[in-house]
């Protein structure tokens, strides 16, 4: 509780600071990280990646200190994501599946000071003036990497509320790898809250949704571990933020996941016994800014995923080795 008080203190200080003087790009980033979780809003945003555009509806409500979020795709087959703090449900193929259940996650994930420090060590942060997005004035921030192992990040932050209105990830040649942008956004005011009570599992059961036998198994077990696996060739500034053993949908054995972050993007390494499933294709693939590289190493299947260029996930995977007993 005291933590929360301190947290609001920080928020107030940041907001006060915001009005008092010129903010740096990092200050803006901090403001946006908080505002995104504290503000009630509802809007339509487009997600553009590769040669495609998808439109989705996003509602975000904070009620009684809890965060609720609903994302509904407006194009193609209906896909829906509901998040209540650290719990995430996904509705696809007419099935509601609980994807994440990370109890430990702080209710307002926040950029930690050490993450901000890592960020300024690995990116050149710049302020690029004011632009209009979805009818609002936005401060434009640019984070250019100091090496070619990560992407450039560009963000548009609403000057009043601090909400992130648009975010683009640019490749080396300044081509857009992916971008999110609100095209219509309502901040505060009357926002539909009728779906809030659906976001506990009981509600979902009542709604009469199917549950495959696996579904209950996917109420995930997550254990913090020290697996003994290491990756020697992570780009500088990527610090390990998490190492867990988790159940994963459709996997017989628990999967080891290590997460490394440089403040703006993350790299996950998944290690699991190779069950010779033909679906687990080896090789490189990508979606928007996310690259995935998979390879069989001895009897293990290693998958590296991250919002980094393809060469980075390859470099990381090729350096993965077991260093334990």
């Amino acid at each position: 509780m005291r933590l929360h008080v301190a947290f609001y203190g920080v928020l107030l200080a940041l907001v006060a600071h915001a009005h008092a003087e010129e903010k740096s790009a990092l200050d803006w980033l901090g403001v946006a990280a908080i505002a995104g979780h504290q503000t009630n809003y509802s809007g339509v945003f487009v997600y553009q990646y590769n040669d495609r555009v998808e439109t989705s509806n996003l509602i975000h409500v904070t009620e009684a200190g809890s965060e609720y979020e609903k994302l509904v795709s407006l194009d193609g087959p209906k896909r829906e994501i509901i998040r209540h703090d650290g719990q995430v449900w996904s509705y696809t193929h007419h099935q509601m599946v609980q994807m994440d259940s990370q109890q430990e996650r702080s209710r307002f994930p926040f950029l930690l000071p050490e993450q901000l420090a890592a960020l300024s060590a690995n990116y050149q942060a710049k302020l690029l003036g004011i632009e209009r997005v979805a009818g609002y004035n936005a401060q434009v921030l640019l984070f250019q990497p100091k090496d070619n192992l990560r992407y450039t990040h560009k963000m548009w932050v609403h000057t009043d509320s601090g909400l992130l209105l648009k975010a683009a990830v640019l490749s080396e040649k300044n081509q857009v790898a992916e971008q999110y942008a609100f095209t219509q956004l309502q901040i505060g005011g009357q926002i539909d809250r009728s779906w809030l009570k659906l976001s506990d599992m009981a509600g979902l059961h009542d709604k009469g949704l199917h549950h495959s036998p696996e579904t209950d198994k996917t109420a995930k077990e997550i254990t913090r571990i020290n697996s003994g696996w290491v990756a020697d060739m992570l780009p500088t500034g990527f610090k390990k933020t998490m190492e867990i053993l988790r159940e994963m949908h459709g996997k017989h054995a628990p999967v080891t996941q290590m997460v490394f972050s440089d403040g703006l993007s993350a790299i996950s390494i998944f290690i699991e016994p190779n069950d010779e499933d033909e679906d687990d294709v080896e090789g490189l693939s990508s979606r928007g800014a996310v690259s995935l590289y998979r390879k069989i190493l001895d009897k293990n299947l290693i998958t590296v995923v991250g919002e980094v260029p393809p060469r980075t996930v390859m470099q990381v995977l090729d350096s993965v080795r077991f260093n334990g007993k």
């Binding site: 990280a33 995104g36 979780h37 945003f45 997600y47 990646y49 590769n50 998808e54 975000h60 979020e69 994302l71 795709s73 193609g76 087959p77 209906k78 896909r79 994501i81 998040r83 995430v88 996904s90 193929h93 007419h94 994807m99 994440d100 996650r105 994930p109 950029l111 992130l164 975010a167 490749s171 999110y180 933020t241 998490m242 988790r246 994963m248 459709g250 996941q257 997460v259 972050s261 403040g263 703006l264 993007s265 993350a266 996950s268 998944f270 679906d279 294709v281 090789g283 490189l284 693939s285 990508s286 979606r287 996310v290 995935l292 998958t303 995923v305 991250g306 919002e307 393809p310 060469r311």
Partner: protein
């Protein structure tokens, strides 16, 4: 001098000797010429039918026209960068020649080269939907989720065109 060049081509020079030779090579056009001639001799000995053009000068010209992307930071770095650029140029022209030669000589080498090159380009393969669970598991801890909230989960539920067709249900509201 010629012996030294020949020894270096065979990998028989020590590092410091090779470095001094390369250093002189930069300033002395006769050494450069000898270097090229020796390579030509070697190539002709190995593959007499296919030697008829000198790619290195063309590659060098093209490289000269390329804008320098890296902003120099102080003199020491500048010096270093120049060495890098030179060795990069050398290895590039080597790759150029090797790739061209292997295409000429043995067709089965060509696909291998092509594969290596495609690995350097951005991946064109789309992440398959059966990997969505990995994306979701990754997303959970990614700073992009801190910034974008659930918006970044849209990545994890994106669908492929193939999937959109037959599997979508017309009765769905």
């Amino acid at each position: 001098m010629k012996n030294e060049i020949s020894a270096m081509m065979d990998g028989e020079l020590f590092e410091d000797e090779a470095e001094s030779l390369l250093g002189r090579n930069k300033n002395d056009s006769s050494i450069r010429k000898n270097w090229a001639v020796y390579h030509l001799i070697g190539d002709v000995l190995r593959q007499p039918e296919h030697i008829h053009c000198d790619l290195s000068s063309k590659v060098r010209e093209r490289l000269r026209d390329e804008p320098t992307v890296v902003a120099p930071r102080g003199r020491a770095v500048k010096q270093k960068m120049r060495t890098f650029a030179l060795s990069a140029a050398a290895s590039l022209s080597a790759v150029g020649v090797v790739a061209w030669m292997s295409l000429q000589i043995s067709p089965e080498v060509a696909p291998q080269m092509a594969m290596q090159q495609s690995a350097l380009r951005p991946a064109s393969m789309q992440i398959r939907t059966n990997s969505n669970d990995y994306l979701m598991a990754h997303q959970e801890f990614s700073p992009s989720t801190v910034m974008n909230g659930s918006a970044s989960y849209i990545r994890t539920v994106s669908y492929t065109r193939e999937e959109a067709g037959p599997q979508s249900n017309p009765n769905e509201k």
